[in-house]
């Protein structure tokens, strides 16, 4: 991938992050409240976090263990929030 393609790639990720943020906001503004919706909103947040980790922090191209800590943090956070919200 050359520099131009890298630029296009991060711009696509940025656009995706903006769209997911607007979706989250619209869900919040809709006034809809349920466990499923809360978990969906958090799943979107985790996906956004993974995109930041993988492409903005450039960990997608890191081989081995150093790629994992932030993804593991997101996973553990997901499990914790899921347990807390479904308890």
């Amino acid at each position: 991938m050359n520099a131009n393609k890298s630029t296009i790639w991060v711009t696509i990720i940025y656009t995706l992050l903006v769209i997911l943020t607007l979706v989250t906001y619209q869900i919040g503004e809709s006034g809809l409240r349920s466990l499923d919706i809360s978990l969906m909103v958090f799943a979107i947040a985790i996906a956004k976090g993974a995109l930041i980790s993988e492409y903005f922090m450039q960990l997608h191209w890191v081989k081995g263990i150093w790629r994992l800590p932030i993804l593991i943090w997101l996973l553990l956070l997901s499990i914790t929030i899921y347990i807390a919200f479904t308890a």
């Binding site: 991938m1 050359n2 520099a3 890298s6 630029t7 790639w9 991060v10 711009t11 940025y14 992050l17 903006v18 943020t21 607007l22 989250t24 906001y25 869900i27 919040g28 503004e29 409240r33 809360s38 909103v41 958090f42 979107i44 947040a45 985790i46 956004k48 976090g49 930041i52 980790s53 492409y55 903005f56 922090m57 450039q58 960990l59 191209w61 890191v62 081989k63 081995g64 150093w66 790629r67 800590p69 932030i70 943090w73 553990l76 956070l77 914790t80 929030i81 807390a84 919200f85 308890a87």
Partner: protein, 192 residues
Amino acid sequence: MKMNKLTKVIKYPPGDLAIWIFIMAELLVFGLFFATYAVTRIDNIELFEQYQQTLDTTAALWNTLALISSSYFVIRSVLAVNANQQPQAYRFMLLAMLAGLVFVVIKTNEFAVHMDHGITLSTNTFYMFYLSLAFFHYLHVILGMIVLLVLARNLKRGQYTVTDSSGLESGASYWHMVDLVWLILFPLVYVM
């Protein structure tokens, strides 16, 4: 010419390893904060949902867009240095600072509104968590802005090159971490 980071598999994350250990420590602290918030919410669901409605979700939306945009400009700055385009990298860093400043202005205004309404840490359990989390993150944004300022100064002086951009990548990674934490904080505290 050094290959762009987005073109090859590397063994270590971009920047100094020390910054990554620092980032992990920071994420651990924020993670504990988020977990404590969620666990405390279990016994206070009605209170949390009631006072969540008093927060300015539109301000939070603009803040989220500001931080995402700032992170985007930072990665564009890193890519520009890797493509040997230092002047462009400097301009992107200035844009990143501007977007970061938007966050600081909006968040400062939010805190001022809360103070005007007499809301403090002791108002109730929800506000204790909200104000603590938001202010703790706000301090990280302030520190991140100082980091971006230093990076911009160094870019203007041409200190980062294709073969020596570790400092830039370290600062960029820290700023992305600040963004990442907000992306979790926004839905957890404002929306869910």
